[in-house]
Point group: C2
Chain length 320, copies 2
Amino acid sequence: MDLYNGLLNKEKRAIARMISLVERNDSEALEVLSRLYKFSGNAHIVGITGPPGAGKSTLTDKLAKNLRKEGKKIAIIAVDPTSPFTGGAILGDRIRMNKLSTDPGVFIRSMGARGHLGGISKATHAAVKILDIAGYDYIFIETVGVGQSEIDIVKTTDTVIMVMVPGLGDDIQALKAGIMEIADIFVVNKSDRDGADRTKVEIEMMLDFSCSQWRPPVTKVIATIDKGIDELLANVSEHKDYLVSSGAFLSKRILNSEAEIIGLIKDKIIDRIVNASSNKNDVKMYAERVAKREIDPYTACAKLLSKSVKEVNDGEGKKN
Amino acid sequence: MDLYNGLLNKEKRAIARMISLVERNDSEALEVLSRLYKFSGNAHIVGITGPPGAGKSTLTDKLAKNLRKEGKKIAIIAVDPTSPFTGGAILGDRIRMNKLSTDPGVFIRSMGARGHLGGISKATHAAVKILDIAGYDYIFIETVGVGQSEIDIVKTTDTVIMVMVPGLGDDIQALKAGIMEIADIFVVNKSDRDGADRTKVEIEMMLDFSCSQWRPPVTKVIATIDKGIDELLANVSEHKDYLVSSGAFLSKRILNSEAEIIGLIKDKIIDRIVNASSNKNDVKMYAERVAKREIDPYTACAKLLSKSVKEVNDGEGKKN
């Protein structure tokens, strides 16, 4: 398959293939992405996060459906947090059953963390770029916003929507504290439930303590019956305008690029040092000695490092 | 302060100081830890995890209290997930208010992720070693078990206790799927609530599909009134015996040591490449060019890498 022209021609099969290949860290696909990168930058990237059971998937689907009516092309990336340990078919099943997926203007993809060594963030970034190049107007990244790596992914979007539900009470205080500062828009979903107004007031009160230029709106929504979706889309649009008019758009993207570059460097070095087959046995040997208290882990690290850095350097020297 | 002898003499002030220093990546403290490492390995390390609001803190306190009656020395490390974004005083407050902290045979410490670049895991590992050397019989690591980095910490303990509560229903299915495989013991806390038996049965049913040698017990507990705590301690003791008799103890510790060494290598390289002041400006410059689509992130990464690897190598050469 000619990935370069396939992607430029916005062919769905080429897009899907490209994403699979970057997930597997395929060097040819990354090379294509590298050459096409200049065509990216036009999509608006929206992170959707919140605790499990907040109804993020339904909300995302409704947002996508309404944007489709305006003729926008939509991509949805669902980051599946269960995958490091299990097959993680939870989000996968949802996606397969989804009516949206038969719409030619919609692209849906589930990405798991399984098999990646901290690489889910990298693969997600790459998928966003691929979809951006392929001309999708909005790219939604949906994730459970509770862990550090999940938050890292959502942080690198243009607009972050935080989905809350009434009645979680004290249980989400800890979550709230951790995610408050990354949210651009708050949603109180399932707002026909008891306590929706109280949850809204609580969020507003927390926002009163913030001194950032942009005041996140707090919108009550019942995603299942489409209530509040238009208002939420207006919120997204306002935030987009704010980003452009304030100059925050570029400064945010620079920060995101910085995080991405640092992540790439991290992955690449770990890949070379830890996963290189010549070193795997060394790591295992040292691990056994550390467990038996024959050597301490810091000394083991230093020994492995001095050996590996030489090899990495030799590798780099050949390439440049 | 003489950290080496202070720690050998199990002085609380030296222990606290050592932990603060390793959190800040202090090279002298790590050197001391490296030299004393051979005295570690005697503590039983217990991870306590579960969703927010499951009552992990109360449970840990009760476990600690009961073990104190047997004359055991107890350390508790509370990993605070909110810290990357806020001051994260939630767990801190709890700890300051805790009666246990006046007991000379108990050491309590809260560790935040703030200011660390993926370093919380490293600092926690180091703190465990310090407390192990200082002669604590049980070291509890308490964390919200929902994100990848939090799970990574808990995975490196001898015994993992997973704390559930009745009535979370479908909302915790996703969590369950992700954490099932790391749990050695299940607790249904707040088991006076409706649905406790159903939750226990659901967990047991999931365990029926597992084919591992150790069948995790599922114990109903009401931590607030001390109900089931003795049974839970018996579970911990049985699991400890199982680890020793099956040989899993050493093999698990070897795996943990491997994970720790890999983490150390990761941190060290990132620290040198990304955080080195000479490179910080380069990273920023490339980030801006990437955001403006003048260069793609993969090429930026390669350019930074070829420059930095040379420097790291020169540094290693001098040291070895």
